[in-house]
Symmetry: C2
Subunit: 210 residues, 2 copies
DNA sequence: TAGATTGTTAATCGATTAACAATC
DNA sequence: TAGATTGTTAATCGATTAACAATC
């Protein structure tokens, strides 16, 4: 159950950062152990689900006691590859790009936006925090030189596919897309979409007076 | 199957905006009908799923032909309440808030960010596009005066719960949260979370060299 | 008519939850 | 020891997909 061949379902993976967040909070409060029941109370999740999720990565709870906070913290970070440094390429130096870049600087410990790209000559050379906006044409060179491993697409929908393809050919296989388009990707690329338009429109369904 | 008592699953609701986006594209290309097969090809979805999703809102396909683009466009907008104007309150005039506000101005037809709020005196009075940042203390008054129906939380995690509570007591029942926290809400509130940190961390799981 | 495609039932798949023996 | 809680199996629930009669 612990080997890498058994692939873990995306639903579980998406809960791991949630668990990590809680564990960090508890750690800050100097709490030493936590039960699945307590975690479930905090996160509005079923304790059985939490136990099952964690158990898919090995046995590290203690019966009658719960989970050791320090170990759980370490384990979750290790699973999420947050025990090492991860460089991110951000494409698009518009408002969203700038917001993301500033946000990431403070929120994301080991994940760092290491380079920002744009195609607009007006934006190339612009300063965002400590970063200088680079030419999108230099994507591959810079990604390889800086060993970047993730990409964030923060460009308009019309150029998102092109940017996506460029990221993939620059060797990046893990992409977070903010543009409202269905991107076409190859089989080894991991893509997550997060799109304000879609979210708001879906929420609008629940408005009254239907 | 068409009445409002049968509640539609969230999975289906979240696909409706995706369908709408495609239908709009096809409409712009002056295409008149589309089959579930064609939609599935475009969206990487199973045609049976698309038919089933749409059928849960009534029968409006034509056997042997497919779906009428104009009608589908109209129907999806109606379902998503996009046939009327929706006013949104945005809380937080930081980089993310500004990015969202600017983004929404262009992308979201009927959904309009109608007011931006902040607690920071430095930001109150600031101009964002055509909007002036209002005092967060005036939330209830302004929401009611302008009949706002949705809220977007774009404040730091530490104040997100407070903002959420304020939105709910201002009568808003539909909230999109960008802060990395598990918000506590009552039973009649619809909340969606979208959080860059969580998304990036989940993606990091898939990086190589595990 | 022949071909295409819907709407819907049944089958499958996957995810969540309940239950409980094992054990700290 | 008695009480608590895990890890895991079995049961349930829900969502996706296959199949096909109905029919345009």
């Amino acid at each position: 159950m612990r080997n890498k061949i058994t692939s873990i379902s995306p639903s579980i993976i998406r809960r791991l950062p949630i668990y990590l967040r809680l564990v960090q909070e508890l750690k800050e409060q100097s709490i030493l152990t936590v039960s699945s029941q307590e975690m479930g109370d905090h996160l509005d999740l079923n304790p059985a689900q939490i136990r099952k999720d964690l158990a898919s990565f090995g046995e590290f709870g203690r019966k009658g006691v719960g989970y050791d906070i320090s170990y759980l913290d370490w384990k979750l970070r290790q699973l999420l590859n947050l025990d090492r440094h991860i460089g991110v390429a951000l494409i698009g130096a518009g408002h969203l790009g700038i917001a993301l870049s500033n946000y990431a600087r403070f929120q994301l410990e080991r994940i760092t936006i290491a380079a920002v790209f744009d195609r607009d000559p007006q934006k190339i050379g612009m300063q965002i925090g400590t970063l200088t906006v680079a030419d999108f044409n230099d994507l591959t060179v810079i990604c390889q030189k800086q060993d970047l491993q993730m990409g964030i697409i923060a460009v308009p929908a019309s150029s998102a596919q092109e940017v996506c393809d460029a990221l993939v050919s620059a060797g990046i296989r893990t992409i977070l897309n903010f543009a409202p388009v269905n991107l076409r990707i190859g089989p080894n690329v991991h893509l997550r979409n997060t799109d304000v338009t879609t979210e708001l429109q879906a929420l609008a369904y629940y408005l009254d007076q239907k």
